[in-house]
């Protein structure tokens, strides 16, 4: 009965109730929209980084990470590669030989890491090939061994495609070595720091130049990102002497972004709930003050305070119960729609690119947020009408009836 009266009461002032309902729904929608966009951005940054340069997993010799010496190559390379090739989870493997080198052209000098790669294999692991402007991923060349440098480095060296450049370094026994390469293509990824530091040459060219066989790094990409950590454990138990890191370990900032996200979202939810609470307190307080006489009458004829209290609590529960699904459902539709179609951010593409983002954003919303927000909305609704409800209990029936 009380529940029924409460439900009917909220429709007495339809406009006010709808304003509150829509405000709550918008709050939920806005909050979830921000959360999903932010999640989408962070995921996009992650995926970008994984795709262009981090990969899912990287294997190194433990000594290589410690000393970075030229001859600290992966000593079980053949076994590891065989194992990886057999695994159904693995999508691509790319061994790399990495040499810190001084790079020099007629127009300038710089420091760079020469990455000796197998273009065929590298294609399966990163999308570096797609980032090359001329579409020559170390595949077409004449006498001089080919090199790919970034746009950034090219500018610094005043180099172009076909420019000859010279790389020099000291090998593992202290002998200075110089190699001549010809720029065959220029790449640019969304990470300008990475771009500046890396150049790519053919694996066998670098092996010949250094007289080092094998590789320093094996980059691995799996079919499913979800399986990364578990597969890492698997590899560690198989090859305990290797240093095996997942993308979270290699680029911890990408993972921190997730943690930051959680914090920001929590703050956001708190703000939404506070706004919601203010809205409800206000409305219910008005609803109580406006009905003073009626509430006084109810208490006079024998409705006890507990029932009066619950009647008012139920009124705001109903408001929240109508607004909650409304907000959640509209969010669900929007997130699903834009999750498929994407949100076009090309107007800001230039700026986004420099921080590792692309121009189409796909919002992502973890289901748990729907649950969390539903629970929070209801709890907030109940909490915030306690004050107005208590206000109703303080009414003195004789007083309220007198002021007719």
């Amino acid at each position: 009965m009380i529940v029924k009266i409460a439900f009917k009461n909220i429709w007495r002032n339809k406009l006010r109730s709808w304003v509150v309902i829509i405000a709550i729904a918008l709050g939920i929608f806005g909050g979830l929209a921000v959360i999903s966009t932010a999640t989408g951005l962070s995921k996009m940054r992650q995926n970008n980084a994984i795709r262009t340069y981090v990969s899912h997993l990287q294997l190194h010799d433990s000594a290589y990470l410690k000393y970075g010496r030229l001859d600290d190559t992966i000593n079980q390379q053949a076994d590891i590669i065989t194992y990886l090739e057999k695994s159904k989870k693995v999508k691509g493997i790319s061994p790399r030989l990495k040499v810190e080198s001084f790079i020099q052209s007629a127009g300038g000098t710089s420091g760079v890491i020469l990455n000796g790669i197998d273009p065929e294999k590298e294609r399966q692991v990163t999308d570096l090939a797609e980032q090359c402007i001329a579409g020559n991923f170390l595949e077409r060349y004449k006498q001089k061994p080919p090199i790919i440098i970034s746009q950034k480095l090219a500018t610094k060296l005043n180099a172009r495609v076909k420019t000859t450049i010279q790389c020099s370094f000291t090998n593992n026994i202290g002998v200075p070595i110089t190699g001549i390469f010809k720029v065959v293509d220029i790449f640019s990824t969304s990470n300008s720091m990475y771009d500046e530091l890396n150049a790519f040459v053919r694996l066998e060219d670098l092996q010949n130049l250094t007289s080092i066989q094998g590789s320093h790094e094996i980059a691995v990409v799996l079919h499913e990102e979800k399986e990364v950590e578990q597969f890492r454990e698997e590899l560690i138990s198989k090859f305990p002497n290797q240093h095996i890191a997942s993308w979270r370990g290699i680029a911890p900032d990408l993972g921190y972004a997730d943690k930051m996200m959680d914090l920001v979202m929590t703050l956001f939810l708190i703000i939404i709930m506070l706004a919601l609470a203010f809205g409800i307190v206000n409305t219910m307080l008005m609803a109580v003050l406006e009905r003073k006489k009626e509430l006084g009458m109810l208490i006079s004829v024998g409705m006890n305070k507990r029932k009066v209290f619950w009647m008012i609590i139920w009124e705001s529960i109903f408001l929240a119960l109508i607004a909650g699904p409304l907000g959640i459902f509209s969010t669900y539709l929007a997130v699903n729609f834009f999750g498929r179609v994407g949100i076009d951010l090309s107007f800001a593409a230039q700026g986004l690119r420099s921080i590792g983002l692309e121009s189409t954003l796909f919002p992502i919303l973890d289901n748990k947020y729907y649950v969390i927000i539903s629970i929070l909305v209801i709890i907030t609704a109940i909490l915030s009408c306690i004050y107005p409800a208590l206000k109703a209990l303080k009414l003195n029936p004789a007083e309220t009836l007198r002021t007719a």
Binding site: M1, I5, K8, N9, W11, R12, K293, E294, G296, M297, L298, I299, S300, V301, G302, M303, N304, K305, K307, P397, A398, L401, R402, A404
Partner: protein, 225 residues
């Protein structure tokens, strides 16, 4: 039976002291049809509120049946009102979102009466006040007189010991006033329901069987007609 002894009521907000009642002694027996009259500000409402347990006396006792309601806590008083006293106010009697039937049923729901009993009694009472064809109307779809009749039916629904009505006809035209009084009078005659009401209206006073005149917070006269 209502027994009011040595009741005084002083309103004191710190600045102004108003002695609304100054030593009231009165006994109202079951089955009476009593009007409380007096000029504005004489203390009629205050007296009815104290009898009805809506307000507490500064001094004195109010005994209803066996209970000294001056000794009850606030929550006990609410329950006491629900089960022993029927109220008809001048206005704001009904719950606007409920129909006539639901308004009458309301107190029985608070009393946890069974659905069968509620239905039967609601129908009977609405018939007794001549509103059997208005049961599904909301208060704002009824006239002032009809609303007051629903209020009388509602007051009776909880099977109270007596009904208190503070100026129940103040907002009614003369036809509705006569009609409401007829109904109250008939309920008094046929069901032996006790009515205590305050009024300014001479036509209402004329129908009363006992007229208590209050002035300045004291009983000036008490006449059985």
């Amino acid at each position: 039976m209502i027994k009011v002894t040595h009741v005084t009521k002083t309103y004191d907000d710190g600045k102004v002291r108003v002695e609304a009642l100054r030593g009231i002694n009165v006994e109202i027996k079951n089955g009476e049809f009593t009007a409380i009259v007096g000029p504005s500000g004489s203390g009629k409402t205050t007296l009815l509120n104290i009898i009805g347990g809506l307000d507490t006396p500064t001094e004195g006792n109010v005994i209803i049946g066996e209970t000294n309601i001056a000794l009850l806590s606030e929550n006990q008083l609410i329950d006491f009102r629900l089960n022993h006293i029927g109220f008809v106010f001048q206005s704001y009697n009904l719950i606007p979102v409920l129909t006539a039937k639901e308004n009458v049923e309301f107190l029985m729901l608070l009393q946890n009466k069974s659905e069968a009993e509620r239905d039967e009694r609601t129908t009977k009472l609405l018939k007794a006040v001549g509103l059997e064809d208005q049961i599904n109307k909301k208060p704002n779809e009824m006239s002032g007189g009809q609303q007051q009749r629903v209020a009388v039916a509602r007051a009776l629904a909880s099977k109270p010991d007596f009904i208190l009505a503070d100026e129940p006809t103040a907002n009614l035209d003369s036809a509705s006033t006569a009609n409401l009084l007829d109904i109250m009078y008939r309920l008094n005659q046929e069901e032996n329901m006790t009515f205590v009401f305050s009024t300014h209206d001479q036509r209402v006073i004329d129908r009363a069987k006992r007229v208590i005149t209050v002035e300045d917070g004291k009983i000036l006269s008490d006449i059985y007609t």
